[in-house]
Symmetry: C2
Subunit: 260 residues, 2 copies
């Protein structure tokens, strides 16, 4: 397989998921609560099933790690990581800032990533060694000369433990906190890659929540890592930093490490 | 003036604001911090100026209360209340879930309201005694049989004082808190009017942050009031409840009033 043919396939997966999701947006759909009480809808399931059908038929030797239907062929060196709807709560509320996430891992390291917003038709595509694109045009993160000017986004304070929340709030107090954004899930990482947000910090993410973002953010000139500054791979613990300007990394890690 | 001609004018104001905002979305724009350190951009100012030009020329006797350029003719019985960009932080980050808010007050009471999202082209229009519309079609809130099933939205925990935050979190714990949404500003009220969210609770809102929502939510079958259940008017204190199903109002007020 070449990177180009993998990219074509990844784009087809995004198209298939979008077709499954669009008719259910702001429509009647069934949903239920998963084990952790987070909701899953008919749209999450239909979109992941549509992507799995393509992978099963075209790349039957590759592994799949999906949010809704679990893992297949865990020993394969190539793993497709699928989150059919990242931001299910936004989807359910009719907010068009959720997304389908698709990543390809090679030996546990992300080499392709897609964020696709099926309602507005916005797609970020990243691949190792290539510039990130947003709807086909090159996307670039922006510089951020001082942490105090950084706009910070995170999906919601309710996703931090008390202890993590303290570290996050210490960081937040050192950024442009009047421009801090909650909500947004994957969409925040796309906006960071396009140079509209400087910093995303989250905890408790699963592999399928962050794998796609690595190639997108880094191919746009930014950096992704865990809260210690280590690169993200299949076994990371889900404490995630995405930074538009890698020159601010030490400042971010120092502020996150501090207990006030 | 008839309600119909006022509605036509209100729609023209929304069009004019949208024209001023669109070219600046995800573009280079200047911004600065206001007295309370909240940001204001070139787009906020241009959009409010465009609306004021129309009002000054067509309804020179009416009062205007605008977020950016203050109050004119405060003694007029008719007051146009303008928030050119509600959700400036979202606008600056490139999230298409901010909106232009336009309300007409008669003797301090809201009689017309518009929420306009200029990027996605979504517009909610409410007027006293008329059904609310979303892009020209009738919008309706949804029923919510039990508070524990209610999806709750609020712009962000950072906007509550510690004391208010405790009351809010007590309410949140009695709703479907795994579906709680932060961020969104005015867009939450539109989604509530369209039946996708059940409950929005906020504090610290200014008149221009909530005036437009009253006609929209109530014309869609919902209810808006302050945290005591009293109707909202020009002198309300900015503790706001919007509820899709008015039958849940007592439950909401009881949960908000409780100190655990």
């Amino acid at each position: 397989m070449s990177l180009e043919s993998d990219l074509r396939l990844a784009n087809r997966l995004a198209d298939a998921a979008a077709e499954a999701i669009r008719p259910l947006f702001r429509a009647e759909f069934s949903y239920e609560s998963k084990g952790d009480a987070s909701p899953v809808t008919e749209a999450d399931r239909a979109a992941e099933a549509a992507m799995r059908r393509i992978l099963d038929s075209e790349l039957p030797a590759d592994g799949i790690i999906g949010e809704e239907y679990g893992t297949e062929r865990p020993d394969a060196s190539r793993q497709w990581v699928l989150d059919p709807i990242d931001g299910t709560v936004s989807f359910m509320a009719g907010r068009p800032i959720f997304g389908t996430l698709i990543a390809l891992l090679q030996d546990g390291w992300p080499v392709i990533g897609i964020i696709n917003q099926p309602i507005s038709g916005e797609r970020w595509v990243g691949a190792l060694g290539k510039p990130t694109t947003f709807n086909g045009k090159i996307a670039k993160t922006r510089r951020c000369r001082e942490l105090k000017d950084a706009s910070l986004a995170s999906s919601g304070p309710q996703y931090f433990s008390d202890h993590e929340g303290e570290h996050f709030m210490n960081l937040a107090s050192k950024t442009a906190h009047k421009r801090m954004l909650f909500g947004g899930d994957c969409y925040n990482y796309g906006l960071l890659a396009s140079g509209h947000i400087d910093l995303v910090v989250e905890s408790g993410l699963k592999l399928y929540d962050y794998a796609a973002h690595v190639s997108i953010v880094e191919g746009a000139g930014g950096q992704m890592c865990d809260w210690n500054g280590d690169p993200l791979h299949a076994n990371s613990e889900g404490h995630v930093i995405a930074l538009g300007d890698p020159a601010r990394l030490d400042d971010v890690i120092e502020a996150l490490a501090c207990d006030h």
